[in-house]
């Protein structure tokens, strides 16, 4: 299957900007992705045609805003194959979505209970559970990874017990690119314990077809901005039977049924977990982004991303002095690396001078870096609109950086 990459790139206006006088080579897609014109238009159209608050409609504009907002929710439902649209909760992003679940869990946990995570977590899927455990006197268990950055499934299984209340793991690792076998891991948890399963989909959602019913998990969370949608909006998907009575998160307007001075009662899903005026335009933007994705040939996009990753990893094999960090068999388009004798921060800087945008540092995964015995890495991460030529540019730029620095 072929992909018209030029036509695809033409839909992302920022890709033709210049940085430091050079054509931008944007390889920081794991941090955030660029936006196609249709998403930008959805934001502009919302503000120019129907900006209003939602669900309060005494007037036509509000009706139209509510229609677009709820329509976006339905798009997300379709995109992840949720059973009911009420299971789709708008959040500000992955971080808030995990906090909603962790905050509720903290109220249910008792001393002696356990939460299981993995050694490849982003801080968002670590500090949240750590704090929930600390509040409740529960224990945080951590399943190990092996040297190439794959989850040790035996250790993961061994750490499940009758005390495990929740298991959280990433769909894919932002620092290493490791793609986890989420269906298999979920069924291990479900067959060996009564624990709930939360999947941090921040890095998975843009690279894989997600079918929450087929996975069998209880929560799947992600951020819009890593899926070509605006920042400040994301999704908490939760199984209806679990979310229905989940402890409320923020309280205030929109989420209540009745309010008195000394007590209140809560509304129904999805509103009970969406206090206050939501990020309406952001939600409409995310709805537009998933609609755009659903119109693409997803298999061709996936094949292109895999080809880009393989091309980059192959080139790295021929590049002297490079050390790849994270070489799992199943990976998304993330290449983390070090170059002998250089500091990742210096590499990032010299690459930036050449128009190549990557990320350097600990990638919000300090315990993972410690586990690997590293202070940080340089990370190039690829998206659907990247090209083989851009990977060539990356290696030319790296070669120059190596010559200057090492």
């Amino acid at each position: 299957m072929s992909l018209d990459i030029d036509a695809l790139r033409a839909q992302f206006p920022i890709l033709s900007t210049k940085v430091n006088g050079k054509t931008l080579t944007y390889l920081d897609n794991a941090a955030t992705t660029q936006k196609p014109q249709v998403v930008i238009d959805a934001l502009v159209d919302f503000y120019t045609q129907c900006n209003s608050n939602v669900h309060r409609g005494a007037h036509s504009l509000s009706d139209e805003a509510t229609r677009r907002f709820e329509n976006a929710r339905s798009n997300i439902q379709t995109f992840i194959n949720a059973n009911q649209r009420e299971e789709v909760i708008w959040t500000s992003g992955t971080t808030e979505a995990i906090n909603i679940v962790a905050n509720g869990l903290a109220q249910k946990l008792k001393a002696g209970d356990e939460v299981l995570i993995t050694e490849m977590e982003h801080h968002a899927n670590l500090v949240t559970w750590q704090q929930a455990c600390l509040r409740a006197g529960a224990t945080l268990q951590v399943a190990q990874i092996n040297e190439i950055g794959e989850l040790d499934v035996a250790d993961f299984t061994a750490k499940l017990s009758s005390n495990t209340r929740l298991v959280a793991f990433p769909h894919a690792s932002n620092a290493l690119g490791t793609l986890n076998a989420i269906n298999e891991l979920t069924s291990i948890v479900k067959s060996q314990s009564d624990a709930l399963v939360l999947i941090d989909g921040a890095q998975g959602i843009a690279h894989c077809k997600v079918d929450v019913q087929a996975i069998g998990c209880d929560f799947y969370v992600f951020s819009g901005h890593k899926l070509c949608a605006p920042t400040g909006v994301g999704i908490l998907w939760g199984r209806y039977s679990v979310l229905e009575n989940w402890p409320v998160w923020q309280t205030g307007g929109e989420m209540i049924r009745t309010v008195d001075y000394q007590e209140s009662t809560w509304g129904v899903l999805p509103h009970r977990l969406e206090a206050g005026t939501p990020n309406i335009a952001g939600a409409v933007g995310l709805g537009a982004a998933v609609e755009w994705f659903m119109q693409q040939d997803l298999d061709a996009l996936k094949a292109h991303e895999t080809a880009l990753l393989n091309y980059a990893m192959d080139k790295a094999k021929d590049f002297s002095g490079i050390q790849l960090v994270g070489t799992a068999k199943e990976k998304v388009g993330v290449m983390s690396f070090l170059i002998d004798g250089t500091h990742p921060g210096d590499l990032g800087f010299i690459l930036d001078q050449q128009g190549v945008a990557i990320r350097t540092g600990d990638h919000c995964a300090q315990p993972l870096m410690k586990r690997l015995g590293l202070g940080g890495t340089a990370r190039a991460s690829f998206s659907i609109y990247n090209t083989f030529e851009e990977i060539d540019t990356l290696f030319v730029a790296l070669n120059k950086a190596k010559n200057m620095l090492a």
């Binding site: 921060g345 210096d346 350097t360 540092g361 940080g376 200057m404």
Partner: protein
């Protein structure tokens, strides 16, 4: 103690180059002149944290003059620290407090390194040195 170039030397040198590669090669080369703290002296209480790289700072005061030994794990930051120390090393507290570092970096056309957006630790170290100088002068 190694002799550091003066700020005027640096301004003249950097003016002379016209592409980024020469400029940063110069900064990388400068890094070798850093009055460097030994590994053993890079203790946690001397860390000034930026989010990308760590910088260690050991001040000494001799009469009314301030001296600094520093170290960074990144080469470009080390080179930039030489630019900073060119202005501060062996100066009185008053000279240090009066020196306009932002403007100096602007003249060097390197202001992005000292701006808020970079987690290089450079801004933090300048703030730390100014704080020490302010304490010493009062």
């Amino acid at each position: 103690m190694t002799k550091l170039p003066s700020t005027t030397d640096i301004i003249e040198d950097l003016e002379f180059f016209d592409d980024w590669e020469e400029r940063y090669q110069y900064i990388i080369d400068l890094s070798k002149q850093l009055p460097e703290l030994s590994e053993a002296e890079r203790t946690d209480d001397r860390i000034v944290k930026g989010c990308q790289s760590s910088v260690w700072l050991k001040p000494t005061i001799d009469d009314d003059r301030l001296f600094f030994d520093v170290a960074s794990d990144a080469v470009i930051v080390s080179g930039l620290l030489v630019l900073v120390l060119a202005a501060y090393q062996g100066q009185t507290a008053k000279t240090i407090v009066d020196f306009d570092m932002d403007n100096y970096f602007k003249v060097l056309d390197l202001e992005r390194h000292i701006s808020m957006t970079r987690g290089s630790g450079l801004r933090a170290i300048v703030a730390k040195i100014r704080e020490l100088a302010t304490q010493h002068s009062s």
